[in-house]
Amino acid sequence: MTASNKYFCAVLLAALASGTLLATNAAGDLQKQSEGFPYSEGFPYATMTVLPHTESVLGKTLIGASGEPAGRIVDVLADETGEIRAALVDFCGFLGIGSRKIAVAWSDLRFGLTGNPNAVAVSLSRENLARAPQVKAGEPVIVISARRPAWRRSARQ
């Protein structure tokens, strides 16, 4: 099973579970559900999913660890498998002067924490965000994250 497949199934499972429509069935056979799903009856789709709460990502303000705005999400970056890896952030200057594009790990973004529906929080401070390598066209993107990579976490245990 490829990573994108895994991701897709995970989203589907989570969505079905949170929709409570098939909560009893959530751990069951995906194949069976997609055939018998009530919403897709009369539609030419194998599956239709209810997402009770979604948020548009583009244009959201990034809030740094100290609680002040540090930039704006202008794009979402996926790797070659289609998995979303990072948010491209326009780190703020003044009137467009002095701004730079940086990539923040997708898993670092915390939605719905700040009380502002148009904001996303990260646990990196503004100062540390400012030191992130700049994202440039035609060069490999360097993604920053406040969390240790999995291999280093397991090595410590």
């Binding site: 009137l95 467009g96 002095g98 730079r100 030191r131």
Partner: protein, 404 residues
């Protein structure tokens, strides 16, 4: 040689406030367009495309806009149409953020902006005449930079506390005081012949013959070279310095970047009337030497000092060259082009060259900074500025008319 011009106080103060409010509507939404379009869920490719369309329209419309100002009989009506076009395009972009509409509105905005630069200088020349032009341009520069500074603060506040969209509505609203000030200027006091740069003895109507007539003048070629070298050295310096600030200054970065932009404007507002008077008393050449001489020093200092406070302090030098050239660029063009009837076409030529040079500057300096680091970029900008200084010192003639 020229008629006795007696502009009324009402017209003169109208021109003061027109230049002030133009600062608001001209700088207005430019810096906010990409932020606003991102909040409207535009992708980076479309935003880049719209920005490029606007930049291209701005470059290509400079020369036709100058020719148009030379051709119209009422500079005031041309300026009013341009202000309405800018206000309207801001309003449309705020209401209908759809690609085709925004691209059209941005093109309209660029063309109207290209009209306003020459239009203000033309109204000034037509109103006060050649002999008082230096003083008048000094005053214009003061009100324009006060307007720009006020615009940066107002638009910055609206962008930060309300929304990027609000900035567009504010820009549109500022068209009304600009028009009110413009219509205080009595159209009958603006002498159209003067505004176009006198009457030519040769037949030279239209862009082509006008350009031929202008480029017969050696001093225009040299001045063009000076301005191109200045822009190639100058345009990338502030953005480069500002990106160093955001890298090093932490949470104070935004305030410091704002300060590096506003500080030169304050300098211009304070000193440009003085520059206008100096241009009459000591001539143009010494002032051009100062403006071009300060720029290599600024480049060298920025290459050597990377601390936040020193970067901000060095920006005072930006204020020196900005306050000199804000007055001297239209003034020297008037010196050179007077008697051709193509003053505004000449302004369009310089305007287009300025735009191309600024684009080359940011591209080239960005490349050098990526490859060899920021100090190398500042050094190469300083070197370019040094060439400009040498060009003024060795070849630029004094253009002050003998009767001034």
């Amino acid at each position: 040689m020229e008629l006795d011009l007696q502009p009324s106080q009402r017209s003169l103060s109208g021109l003061d406030w027109f230049t002030f409010f133009l600062g608001d509507i001209q700088t207005g939404f430019g810096p906010f367009i990409s932020v606003y379009l991102v909040t409207q869920k535009w992708n980076q490719t479309d935003i880049g495309l719209v920005l490029s369309i606007g930049a291209l329209a701005s470059l290509l419309s400079q020369i036709p806009a100058g020719a148009l100002i030379d051709a119209v009989r009422s500079e005031r009506s041309a300026a009013a149409a341009a202000v309405l076009a800018i206000g309207g395009s801001a309003f449309i972009i705020a209401l209908v953020p759809v690609f085709a509409i925004v691209a059209l509105a941005r093109t309209l905005h660029a063309m109207a902006s290209s009209l306003l630069g020459p239009a203000i200088a033309a109204i000034s020349l037509g109103l006060v005449g050649r002999s008082a032009l230096a003083t008048r341009l000094g005053r214009n520069a003061r009100f324009a930079s006060a307007g720009n500074g006020a615009a940066a603060l107002i638009m910055g506040a609206f962008g930060h506390f309300v929304s990027a969209q609000a900035v567009f509505f504010v820009t549109a609203v500022f068209a009304f005081p600009a028009l009110a000030a413009l219509f205080r200027i009595n159209d009958n006091e603006v002498n159209p012949e003067n505004a176009h740069g006198g009457v030519s003895s040769e037949q030279s109507a239209g862009i082509g013959p006008g350009l031929v007539l202008l480029f017969k003048k050696r001093s225009l070629w040299i001045f063009l070279g000076v301005i191109v070298l200045f822009q190639m050295a100058n345009a990338a310096m502030l953005p480069l310095a500002a990106s160093e600030l955001t890298l090093n200054a932490g949470s104070w970065a935004v305030a410091l970047v704002a300060f590096t932009i506003v500080l030169p404007q304050i300098f211009v507002a304070l000193f440009s009337p003085w520059v206008g008077n100096l241009a009459r008393s000591i001539g143009r050449r010494p002032l051009l030497l100062v403006a071009l001489g300060v720029l290599p020093i600024r480049g060298l200092l920025l290459a050597g000092f990377t601390g936040s406070s020193s970067i901000v302090a060095i920006q005072v030098l930006d204020g020196v060259s900005a306050s000199v050239l804000g007055v001297l660029i239209p003034l020297v063009i008037a010196d050179i082009a007077y008697g051709t009837g193509h003053f505004n076409l000449a302004q369009g030529v310089i305007g287009m060259a300025t735009g191309v040079a600024a684009a080359i500057s940011t591209l080239a300096a960005g490349h050098v900074a990526d490859r060899f680091g920021d100090p190398a970029a500042f050094l190469s900008l300083a070197g370019t500025a040094g060439c400009g200084f040498l060009l003024v010192a060795l070849l630029m003639p004094e253009t002050r008319p003998s009767d001034e």
